[in-house]
């Protein structure tokens, strides 16, 4: 992008082109944003991605169906469990497998724990981008508790590989549910703590209100999903609209915003923390007994056909499109609809006319994970 010189009556002014990233503290990984500035005001941006491309989709076409679960961990690496669930359910749909109720409950539970962990990371980094650094450490303190729970469940702390086609790799450890409920209690009070620091903070409100406003129509046109879409007032949530796992048996609300600005997106996610805790409590208390794996053939070989299945990941609608040729033990075509990638489209629209400081706030507000954007 070159900077055009604007010939004025007295002085010529140059627009300043600034390269933000891929090495920049607040582009959340390796996002590169080329900003064209008029003073501090952003005239236009160019969002450049691809620095973390690992070819996960192509790799998957050369792995067998079980091995792919491990690859899905590496997409949205701050919410690996939801990626696993999405993939496994897609294959199950392709094979018309029945998943036992207990496994579906545990999946729901893990998905919601993961949502809280992911939102903790979002809250911390978002607040940090706007300069509130204490919230960052508080949020990570609570995320740590969730990572401990996951570690106890599957032994890993970041990339869990915690699902299997047809169910779960192992049952939850005994006493684990008590620890989950314990965590819910802690999290309840900590949420109030975050809100005390931010929600009614004048500076926070000034920094986020009316920043990056997206109307409902714009948000739909841009193909947004998840909190950025709901922040604009569109009550779309895959968990409610096309229930998967055990969400049809759970009681929860879908928070939506009104103004569609950064503050609303913040409020939506904060409320999602609470709704997630509600779901976790229901799922833990109502955890049914029974097997954890359905009737799965020894050799996983889905019949020829194609399917698309979406779940609500912490970032938005995470969809898998898989084509099976029915002959080989690996997918014929594997394609992901990553929510971060689609949500990132909105950045250019949102930052136009705002200041440099808003750019980092908006990147944080979209909550993108570059592992998922580039795959």
């Amino acid at each position: 992008m070159e900077a055009p010189t604007v010939r004025g009556e007295m002085f010529d002014t140059n627009e300043l082109v600034i390269n933000m990233g891929p090495q920049h503290p607040s582009t959340h990984g390796v996002l590169r944003v080329v900003l064209r500035l008029d003073g501090e005001k952003v005239v236009d941006t160019d969002v450049i991605i691809g620095y973390l491309h690992r070819g996960i989709e192509k790799l998957s076409e050369n792995r067998n169906w079980t091995q792919i679960i491990l690859l899905t961990d590496r997409m949205d690496y701050v919410a690996a469990a939801t990626n696993n669930v999405g993939y496994c359910e897609t294959v199950e749909k392709l094979m018309s497998l029945e998943v036992p109720r207990r496994a579906r409950y545990v999946r729901t539970l893990l998905c919601e724990l993961q949502r809280i962990a992911s939102h903790c990371l979002w809250l911390g980094t978002h607040a940090m981008d706007i300069g509130a650094m204490t919230v960052f450490l508080y949020a990570f303190r609570e995320r740590e508790l969730i990572l401990d729970l996951f570690e106890e469940f599957c032994g890993a702390r970041l990339t869990y590989n915690s699902m299997r086609i047809g169910g779960l790799p192992m049952d939850v450890p005994s006493g684990w549910d008590k620890k989950v409920l314990e965590f819910c209690k802690i999290m309840d009070s900590k949420l109030d703590e975050y809100e005390e620091l931010l929600t009614h903070n004048r500076i926070w409100i000034e920094r986020t209100k009316n920043v990056g406003v997206l109307t409902a129509a714009e948000a739909i046109d841009l193909g947004l999903s998840g909190p950025p879409l709901r922040g604009s007032g569109v009550p779309r949530d895959v968990r409610k609209d096309e229930p998967y796992a055990a969400y049809d048996e759970m009681e929860f609300d879908v928070p939506i915003g009104t103004a569609g600005d950064t503050y609303d997106r913040y409020l939506v996610r904060i409320e999602e923390f609470r709704q997630s805790l509600r779901i976790i409590r229901q799922a833990t208390e109502g955890l049914p007994e029974g097997p954890i794996v359905g009737k799965v053939p020894r050799l996983i070989k889905p019949p020829a056909g194609e399917t698309y299945h979406a779940i609500e990941s912490p970032k938005g609608e995470l969809g898998y499109f898989i084509v099976s040729d029915g002959k080989s033990t690996n997918p014929y075509r594997f394609r992901v609809r990553p929510p971060s990638f689609c949500n990132l489209q909105a950045l250019r629209r949102m930052v136009r006319g705002h200041l440099v400081a808003d750019v980092v706030a908006l990147i944080g507000s979209l909550d993108v994970v570059l592992g998922e954007v580039d795959r």
Partner: protein
């Protein structure tokens, strides 16, 4: 000979060294306090509870490679940190740490000098400090520092107006520009000026946060936006000079706030005989305690608040603080004239 030359020189040496040590320990204090606020421990490895951390930091910074970018304006790049540091240090010449005391049988004043335009001297020297930041941003020949230095200079100039106006209100109360005179005026008025001028004090605190580039006004070095701001291209000791200057300035504004609004070296209720048992505490201790409270406040604010945006900062300065400061000044003037 001794009174005219040796003692002032000795005082200068002591104050300069105390300041520099104080500045390095200020960094440790900040790291510790913020760590505690964030349920962490902070530096723990160098010495017990990290007490020697500043020394380790200083050694590290001195040993680091000093890089000058190839396309930088080398001359200006070199002087910028010096310009930043010098005003922050020479301001201490007029800060009164205590009154005249007798030490080893000699009458010694606990300040380097008391010029009759002391307050003006502080303001004018501080205004020169802006150059360090502007020139650093310009000389780096890099876009982020340039943007940051423009932010910095606009911010410093704007808030300097508000802060100076509040200082004028205090001068109206005290009738003198001398720092020692201002403390004496508070003594004879039986009143700390913070209580006589609460509005001026509030504006001064907000303005001084902005003038020292501290959160929530730390836009010139907003790490998350400008990757460090005006000192992005600096390394080693030159970077350390900017760092030291920032903390030295914090200590300066704390000292000025103490002197102007909290009675300097005076103990609480200096004219209450009932409290005279406190007199065994040396006067400079009171000064240090009061300044420390301010420094702690600075750190506390940083741990709590998010950062303002550039336009909001400007709006706050020009549309709220400056009009309020002017109104306060006019009001003070009217009351003074009415009382006389």
């Amino acid at each position: 000979m001794i009174d005219g030359f040796v003692i002032p020189l000795l005082k200068i040496v002591i104050v300069l060294n105390a300041t520099l040590v104080g500045v390095t320990y200020m960094v440790l204090l900040e790291r510790k306090v913020i760590a505690w606020a964030q349920s962490r421990l902070g530096p723990m490895r160098v010495g017990p509870h990290g007490i020697l951390q500043p020394i380790a930091d200083a050694v590290k910074l001195m040993l680091k490679e000093d890089i000058t970018p190839a396309r930088a304006d080398k001359w200006v790049f070199t002087v910028a940190p010096i310009i930043s540091m010098v005003p922050a240090l020479i301001v201490y010449a007029v800060i009164p740490f205590g009154p005249e005391v007798s030490l080893f049988g000699r009458q010694v004043t606990l300040y380097i000098t008391d010029i009759n335009v002391g307050l003006l001297y502080i303001v004018s020297v501080a205004s020169v400090g802006v150059y360090g930041i502007i020139l650093a941003g310009y000389a780096s020949n890099s876009k982020f520092p340039l943007l940051a230095s423009l932010r910095a200079s606009a911010q410093l100039i704007s808030y300097e107006v508000a802060v100076t106006l509040t200082l004028v209100s205090v001068v109206l109360m005290s009738g003198t520009l001398s720092m020692v005179g201002i403390v004496r005026a508070q003594e004879s008025a039986h009143l700390w000026f913070a209580f006589a001028q609460p509005l001026a004090f509030g504006i001064f605190v907000i303005g001084s946060l902005a003038e020292t580039n501290r959160a929530p006004f730390d836009l010139p070095e907003a790490e998350q936006e400008l990757t460090g701001g005006f000192h992005t291209e600096y390394s080693g000791m030159r970077f350390a000079l900017f760092f030291l200057a920032e903390y030295a300035n914090m200590i300066v504004v704390s000292s000025v706030a103490t002197t102007l609004f909290f009675g300097g070296w005076l103990r609480p209720f200096p004219n209450w005989a009932a409290l005279s048992f406190l007199d065994f505490i040396p006067s400079w201790t009171w000064f240090l305690i009061k300044s420390f409270v301010f420094l702690y406040f600075f750190v506390w604010v940083r741990a709590t608040l998010p950062r303002y945006r550039y336009d909001q900062l400007m709006r706050l300065g020009w549309k709220l603080l400056i009009p309020l400061a002017i109104a306060n000044l006019v009001l003070t003037g009217i009351i003074r004239v009415a009382l006389l």
